[in-house]
């Protein structure tokens, strides 16, 4: 009976701890106004992406043949049924932008998930095993880092074939080393701490030590890196789309939209300007949020 209550107490105090940690995090995070704005914008974007079929006034790939390059509604010749105008084949730009949000968020999620999962595993193994395993993994990461990320992604896509999925795989691979390095450094710093030694003495196996004991204490820098990679992935995927190596037309991906719009650059400013604004706002929002996250999670900068 006594042990049961103590377990229950431990559980409830753990939950309380987590709550207070969350409250503390929010306290520091909310002091950074930019970060809160970034978070709000990001949530808005997620909502737009989720509700795209409800919000978009038109289908993203339907071509209105009477309305090629219609300017936005506030400009002369604009039409109220195409609020942000139409592109060169008569598709509604607003609807394409709304659907494009889905692609950008999807790209960010997929790239970060692959890079994070792979990076954490490789980093844990490298930091925990040391020796030649460590050396081998880190040299491979050095090789990846020797190339500019966009160049390597471009060449990988050339090997895999152009397309959104291959672009995401390529970008994830290119982002991998940052996660491996961070995880490894954190593991090396934690591995000789007393709590790890205590767990080992208590008989924890390798896997339990790695995943259950050490990993949770390395999470803060990984979360920050994941946020910043999310925005970088969106930028790089858009760049690949722009170069014709990412999502292929008629996908309403923002970078691909820009590539299609390039030839109308001096005739129809809206087809070029608006997709870029969407990319910039999205990336900016996530970077603002990421900066705030770093300040709130980095104990060095806390003013307590």
């Amino acid at each position: 009976m006594a042990t049961a209550t103590s377990v229950k107490e431990a559980a409830s105090s753990r939950a309380a701890n987590e709550r207070s940690a969350l409250r503390e995090f929010w306290f520091y995070f909310s002091q950074n106004k930019g970060a809160v704005v970034g978070l709000a914008l990001f949530i808005l974007l997620v909502v737009v992406a989720l509700l795209a079929p409800l919000l978009a006034p038109h289908a993203p790939d339907f071509q209105y043949r009477e309305n090629f390059l219609t300017p936005p509604v506030w400009q002369e010749g604009g039409s109220s049924s195409f609020l942000l105008g139409t592109d060169a084949v008569g598709r509604d730009i607003l609807s394409r932008l709304i659907y494009g949000a889905r692609y950008s968020l999807f790209i960010g999620c997929v790239v970060v998930s692959i890079a994070l999962a792979g990076g954490v595993i490789l980093g844990l193994v490298a930091g925990y095993c040391k020796g030649w395993v460590d050396a081998l993994i880190m040299r491979i990461m050095d090789i990846i880092l020797a190339f500019p990320s966009l160049l390597l992604a471009l060449v990988l896509v050339a090997v895999l074939g152009p397309g959104l999925l291959n672009a995401m795989i390529a970008i994830a691979l290119v982002f991998q080393p940052h996660f491996v390095r961070l995880t490894r450094a954190a593991v090396l710093a934690e591995a000789n701490r007393e709590y790890v030694v205590a767990a080992r003495v208590a008989g924890s196996g390798h896997l339990r030590l790695m995943v259950h004991t050490i990993l949770p204490n390395c999470l803060a820098p990984l979360i920050v890196q994941a946020t910043l990679s999310f925005s970088a992935a969106i930028l790089d995927a858009a760049a690949l789309g722009f170069l014709g190596m990412g999502a292929q037309p008629p996908t309403p991906e923002w970078g691909t939209m820009l590539a299609e719009a390039r030839e109308f650059i001096l005739r129809a400013w809206w087809v070029v300007t608006l997709p870029g604004v969407a990319i910039l706002i999205t990336v900016l929002a996530i970077n603002l949020f990421g900066d705030g996250l770093r300040d709130a999670l980095d104990p060095k900068l806390k003013r307590s």
């Binding site: 090789i143 190339f147 050339a158 070029v272 910039l280 990336v283 970077n287």
Partner: protein, 334 residues
């Protein structure tokens, strides 16, 4: 110092070998037969294919192909472009100055604006000025530069008509390539107005390429300055009654610049990646555009060579920065 150099080389040499392996595997990893890919839609006869296979060594075992490849590299042979039939290295060397000129201008803009902006932001920490500068830096850092380039073209080339849209110099001029740097070559030539034309062509791409490094340098300078300004020697300098200008400019900035120099070195990779996009937008005849064109043209030997050369350059620059850093700051040598 020599030990430091050796320890850096001990890491660099295997990494470079790895880079050669990546470049080597690239052509062999392409889906399908490389020769048929290179031949494209024209197709290729069976005899010609066999002949080419033997000529290029594709019929040998892989490990032997790799050692042949390394041997060729040591002789400066990076393969031949399928499109132009010229050696890849020659093409690279002909185009590289254009990229260097663009990158140098960009990094010059980034440093000359980024460092002062970072210092101003740090010395007015928390003020409106600080917030505006750091907000601007974050926007710059988040900028899709290919779009930013298009915007500048719309504004300055389209609406205002101030700058040309593409290329390095107006077609009206013929300038003898002496150094490969258009700004210098136009000064050396006696063509009237050529220098101005080259400058007009250079300005927009430089701004576009400078955007991200500028933002990174401004942020880095600010945080380095803030760190240094809390140090004892800065407080002492202030307590001595030195003017704020002197404290910031001499005592703080000089020490804050050390991490900033490293950051500038790390921007080389960012610049070369940015050059891929910038040169494509402005039709700038450098290695970035060459690479993209070669990928679309499926000129894979060029891609292979460019991959190796670009990675090699970045590694060399990083090594130089490391060594310089070791010279400035003896503490990190150990």
């Amino acid at each position: 110092m020599i030990r430091f150099l050796l320890s850096r080389l001990a890491v660099l040499v295997p990494t470079f070998l790895g880079v050669t392996l990546v470049a080597f595997s690239f052509i062999r990893l392409l889906p399908g037969d490389p020769l048929e890919l290179l031949a494209g839609e024209r197709g290729i006869s069976a005899e010609r294919k066999l002949e080419l296979q033997q000529q290029m060594g594709f019929d040998k075992p892989l490990w032997q192909q790799y050692f042949d490849y390394l041997g060729n590299l040591l002789h400066g042979d990076l393969g031949t472009s399928f499109a132009s039939k010229k050696p890849v290295l020659d093409e690279f060397l002909a185009l590289f100055p254009a990229t260097v000129e663009l990158s140098l201008c960009a990094i010059l803009i980034a440093v000359l604006l980024g460092v002062p902006l970072g210092v101003i932001a740090a010395s007015k920490r928390g003020s409106v000025v600080d917030q505006v500068i750091m907000g601007g830096a974050l926007v710059g850092y988040s900028m899709p530069i290919f779009w930013w380039g298009l915007l500048l073209i719309i504004l300055f080339s389209g609406t205002l008509g101030w700058t040309p849209v593409s290329g390095r110099i107006s077609l009206m001029f013929w300038v003898e390539p002496v150094t490969g740097f258009m700004l210098i070559d136009t000064l050396l030539s006696d063509e009237e107005g050529a220098f101005l034309s080259a400058l007009q062509h250079l300005i927009l791409p430089s701004i576009v390429l400078a955007t991200i490094p500028l933002a990174v340098i401004a942020r880095q300078t600010r945080s380095a300055m803030l760190e240094v300004m809390g140090e004892d020697y800065v407080r002492t300098a202030r307590a001595k009654g030195l003017s704020p200008m002197r404290v910031i400019g001499v005592h703080a900035l000089r020490n804050a610049l050390i991490p900033v120099v490293t950051t500038i070195g790390l921007q080389v990779g960012v610049l070369l990646a940015g050059a891929i996009l910038t040169e494509t937008i402005f039709s700038w005849p450098g290695i970035g555009k060459w690479l993209v064109d070669s990928i679309t043209r499926r000129d894979y030997f060029v891609v292979q060579g460019a991959l190796l050369l670009i990675a090699g350059i970045i590694m060399l620059v990083n090594l130089t920065v490391d060594l310089l850093y070791g010279l400035i700051n003896p503490r990190i040598r150990s």
